[in-house]
Amino acid sequence: MMKFRFRRQGNDPHREKIKQDLFAFSKTVEHGFPNQPSALAYDPKLQLMAIGTKSGAIKIYGAPGVEMTGLHKDTAAVTQIHFLYGQGRILSLLDDNTIHLWEIVQRENRSHLVEVHSFNLPGRPGIESTSATRVTVMLLKLSCDLLALGTEGGGVHFLELPTLTLLNKSLFQDEIMQSVPEEYKCGKSLGPVESLQEHPQDSDKILIGYSRGLVVLWDLNSRHVVNLILGKQQLESLVWERSGNSFVSSHSDGGYMVWAVSSSNPCTHDPISSTVPYGPFPCKAVNKILWRTTESGCVHCSCNKSLVVLLEEELVVIDLQMAGWPTVPAPYLAPLHSSAITCSCHISNVPPKLWERVISAGQQQCPLQNYENWPICGGKNLAPDPKQKELLLTGHEDGTVRFWDASGVSLKPLYKLSTANIFQTDCDHNDSLTQAGEEEWPPFRKVGCFDPYSDDPRLGIQKISVCKYSGKLVVAGTAGQVIVMVLSDEKSDHMIDVATVDLLQDREGFTWKGHDRLPPKSGSVVFAPGFQPVVLVQCMPPAAVTAVTLHAEWNLIAFGTSHGFGLFDYHRRSPVLARCTLHPNDSLAMEGPLSRVKSLKKSLRQSFRRIRKSRVSGKKRAVVYSPTNKVQEANAQLAEHDAEVTPVQRRIEPRSADDSLSGVVRCLCFADTFLRDGTHHGPTMWAGTNSGSVYAYALDVPSQEKFSEQSVEALLGKEIQLMHRAPVVSIAVLDGRGNPLPEPYEVSRDLAKAADMQGSHSVLIASEEQFKVFMLPKVSAKTKFKLTAHEGCRVRKVALSNFTSVSSEEYSENALVCLTNLGDIHMFSVPALRPQVRYDCIRKEDISGIASCVFTKTGQGFYLISPSEYERFSLSARVITEPLCRVDVERPHDLSAHSGSSTPLPPQANGTHKTQAESKSVETEGLLDEMRSALSSPVLDSPNSSADITLDTTGELTVEDVKDFLMTVDEAENNFRNITEEDGRPPGILIN
């Protein structure tokens, strides 16, 4: 009866209220650089910058912390955006030929971006093709009351602002043609409108440039041609000189021309000057040209103090007021992916001491790193200063670890740590040689930092572990390197101690076919203040490190690869333990994932680059609907249909011990707990593998004073084979009250409550398929939840987080947070493992997003929505980091008053757009996913990845096979009896 009541707790209104106070899901902010930006605008009055993306998002940035996001209803690329200066209004043109008006509105005393109007240019009666009305350029008049649209068909249309109503004064080519001399006409159309420019002195006149080269100065009021410039070179862009007496045209051959505009000569054939800057031969088109008046190299107008260039992968801001035009560091929009992100690690509640030292190390690296010169500073950040400092560490493919300030809305770079300098790599000297040796033409200066090409993939960072109290850091990489670092405020010149640990342990018949280890540099190396390597441990074979953990109080690190795991005493520089986890039948583990994956990755990357290139440069104008296009589309659909004829099949077979890569060490953990018996606790180390094995070691760690004399001993205590053999994703020890054990030093420095050592401890083992809590020291099953059997999803990431109630700071609960392969997040109570809430978070197709997810200790999380952007989300009703800003605007005609009731759009952009996938071609999507899975490491997608291998289960396993090396036989029997009694059924039954 009692049991029944407990099971119904989900319906208990009291419990429901508590849950509401603890848990709430929201995607709060996007950190980093927008993926595939496609449009840029700046409002000098409000000092705001807007970026449009190919996925239909508009993001507005002002002062650090001032951020707003709007997402168009249809996922079409934003091709142009224009501010209505000072009004807090933005016009956007999308790839689907729709125009949208957005407004910054104030709601709940903060600013939001809301769409208020949209417009679609109707086709011209009698003309079937819609391409004629496709908008090519937009001119927003300075007065902000009129919008001129140039079209593919050569027409110019006018819209009233801000209502977006079409005025009945469209200008068509035939009207212009009447003024054009016969010899210029030669029966050809003028082509699409390529440029519309308002006369700088006379706002009634606009300059219209047609693709064929004709440029017309048109008077809007009198509707007549003022000047006619009969250019013959294909036109790309136009810009006025300030006086309005001349303008510049740029052309497809890479040249530009200066033309005079005078009333005395209404029809011109020849420019004042014509230049091909990187000539003499024609080269690439100059498709954007600006003309600003300068005085002796310095821009004199205050609004022209910096040049903002939006590139595909980063934003570069150049200070035009300082000599040499240096770049200005950006306080947001950091190119997270300047080298591909390979792993991430979040540290919450960073102690002030560590924070200061990291900042100081960063400032010595890059002294100019202050954001005072940042020119875009509109709006006010209303968010209160974060209560605690948070660090996000990203590991990169080039062997760097970057430290980011993740305390607030804008993710700021703090410090960059490189590990490449302790190894001898082939590419060490290449950089300087090429830079000095080759003379490049054209002589461009390189700015920006986006450099996705890794010199040596072995340098890639795989795992990071930090002790925030002692300033110790362990990073582990692709070639089996595990580097122990210590934070130092002084420059140092020292040799690194190198040790190798053989994880095969005399296993015979295995030969490593993968890459070599990274040769460490001999002799001493100079290290700047910051994290400095002291010990390098190299795993043999040098397979990628799959798990690492650090216990700074015990001076121990543990690390694992696909072959086994090791324990190393970095104080004495001596290996304590190495254990091979390789299954005898596993041949794949010796292939060296990198050797295979690398080539795959490389080819994927190349093809991805090809696709991207063709996507970007292949079309200037996006898809034009024409009959041939329809045929192609139909063919494509047909091809897709064909592909569906052979349906996807999935093999249903249980996991087996013979599975390849079954020996991969998935997780490691240290804990001070009861492994030997119920009365004496002590240091333990736990390791979990891909095949559902858990190894628990009892450690003899000498006391602080004796570290130098006495060595650490490790004794295998328990071996647990999970019945269902699913990979062990995480292991955590819970104290007598069911709370996770505190971190090292937390207790000794009075920063956390000591663990309860009175009640019996338990260990929570999370596999890909289920969660299970076992009592210690006997390892008897206590509670479990079979997630896969119930939901058909598999565990990808888990964390124990603490959730504080919104209604009372005093009340908090621990929860097991779990992200599944379907991208949803489940939360469970601990240690009862009762399901609490479930949220959809990531699209299940977004494999790299799921693989990149990290949770914080206070119920937030991050995942990559593109190679360059983290989505930050919150699971806690209390701890939320979201933009809270205000931009005050004055508008003559306020539309938002009417549409104030409309619901704000969800603030997410990019990867979270539901229909985004549809906008991409299927092949690209598939390829992306493949690439992501190839990049996510280690690739442990099972069972589907191994679905093609027939596997038989072996022997009749009954309960988890617990091998006890410390207990007596009697105890073992008791243990067994306990299991069976607890589960209320006779022995010989599966607990899988």
Binding site: K3, V648, R650, E769, P943, T954, D983
Partner: protein, 378 residues
């Protein structure tokens, strides 16, 4: 009738079915019929024993004109004929109640090499290893079949694949197409094939009591793999949808709650539960049985012991044992639909397995349905 050696090699046995029509009056005599069967099964010259299932579930011999005509007269509208090779050691081929005796299969068939030592072919029931069973027959709609595959302890692969597909449902609003998951392939020699209980294109409705509606192929795959040590799948067999709508309709209109045509196991010793035809109800009851608490989940696993699992006071425990035996004898999966052809009185359908007793559907009466169950488990 004889359970044979302990070490069953199920896949070595073969059974096949034929269904054909015969004029009740123009059937001729026994010899003609005997030759007809030999022709139909392409076994000319093979010496066989014929049997048929009477309304009490007894397997009765056909060896002369009299009992042949008696058998024909009992066809209502179907008559199941069981053909068995004569050379086998079948001391008592047609004992009374044989079809109800669960611990004895109808397996009388042996391979030629075993012929010489017939004595060794008899094993005790407990020596058999159960590899599959049909469960919950009484609570499932007759169109559904719940199969347990006992992976554990065998070294055979489960041996099947699943795919996405479209399922057609008849709703009050009309015919509705919904995505579904189907068995796409059976691996030769695999557990799934050797039980004969699952077939290609069967729709998967539940995995270990959890409805798969709305779940993706990958989710269903994961659920099955997670439960693979003791996999219980509820399927809607493919063929019934094709040919038996009328028959089925007549059954339901008769208010008969007979267990799934041809799919029932051993439900004869328990009264069919009144709610058995209500699909939603069965899934409810099931979720109670296998619900979210640990013990519940474990309870379902206890069913390995066969006697402890009693959903709705059902006593079908031992029955599953017979299933195992029978599936050993007949590698082919019973095709319920083949039996349930609507037929006029002038037509009787005969289903004839080549070797031994096999699934043969007779009538729509509840009793015979139960008997059918017995046959089908074979």
């Amino acid at each position: 009738m004889t359970p044979h050696s302990n070490d069953l090699q199920y896949d070595l046995f073969e059974a096949e079915y034929r269904r054909f029509a015969l004029k009740r009056n123009g059937a001729g005599g026994f010899q003609e019929f005997y030759q007809l069967l030999q022709t139909i099964h392409r076994i000319p010259g093979v010496d066989v024993l014929l049997g048929y299932a009477d309304i009490h579930g007894d397997l009765l011999p056909i060896n002369n004109d009299d009992n042949f005509h008696k058998a024909l007269s009992l066809a209502n509208p179907l008559l199941r004929i069981i053909i068995q090779r004569r050379d086998v050691d079948v001391s008592v081929p047609f004992p009374t109640g044989s079809l109800q005796r669960r611990k004895k299969g109808l397996a009388g068939l042996h391979q030629p090499k075993q012929k010489s030592k017939p004595a060794l072919l008899i094993g005790l029931p407990q020596d058999f290893r159960q590899i599959s069973s049909i469960i919950d027959v009484d609570i499932l709609p007759e169109t559904h079949l719940r199969v347990r595959l006992h992976k554990h302890g065998t070294n055979k692969p489960l041996g099947f694949y699943i795919r996405d597909g479209v399922s057609v449902r008849v709703t009050p609003q009309g015919v509705e197409k919904v995505p579904g998951v189907f068995i796409s392939r059976l691996v030769k020699g695999g557990l799934a094939e050797s039980t004969g209980l699952l077939g290609v294109n069967d729709e998967i409705l539940e995995v270990n009591g959890i409805d798969v509606a709305g779940k993706s192929l990958d989710q269903v795959t994961d659920m099955m793999v997670a439960n693979s040590h003791n996999l219980i799948v509820t399927v809607k067999p493919a063929n019934q949808r094709v040919n038996n709508t009328m028959h089925r309709a007549s059954k339901t209109s008769a208010g008969n709650s007979s267990a799934g045509s041809g799919s029932s196991a051993l439900s004869h010793d328990s009264a069919p539960s009144p709610a058995s035809q209500n699909a939603s109800q069965y899934s409810n009851s099931n979720s109670v049985a296998e619900g979210d608490s640990d013990d519940d989940t474990d309870l379902i696993l206890e069913n390995d012991n066969l006697s402890t699992y009693m959903p709705h006071r059902m006593t079908n425990g031992n029955g599953s044992h017979a299933n195992a035996l029978s599936s050993g004898a007949f590698a082919h999966r019973p095709l319920p639909q083949s039996v349930s052809l609507p037929s006029s009185s002038s037509l009787s359908s005969l289903t004839t397995p080549t070797h031994n007793g096999s699934p043969t559907k007779t009538s729509s009466s509840q009793e015979s349905m139960r008997e059918d169950g017995n046959f089908i488990t074979l």
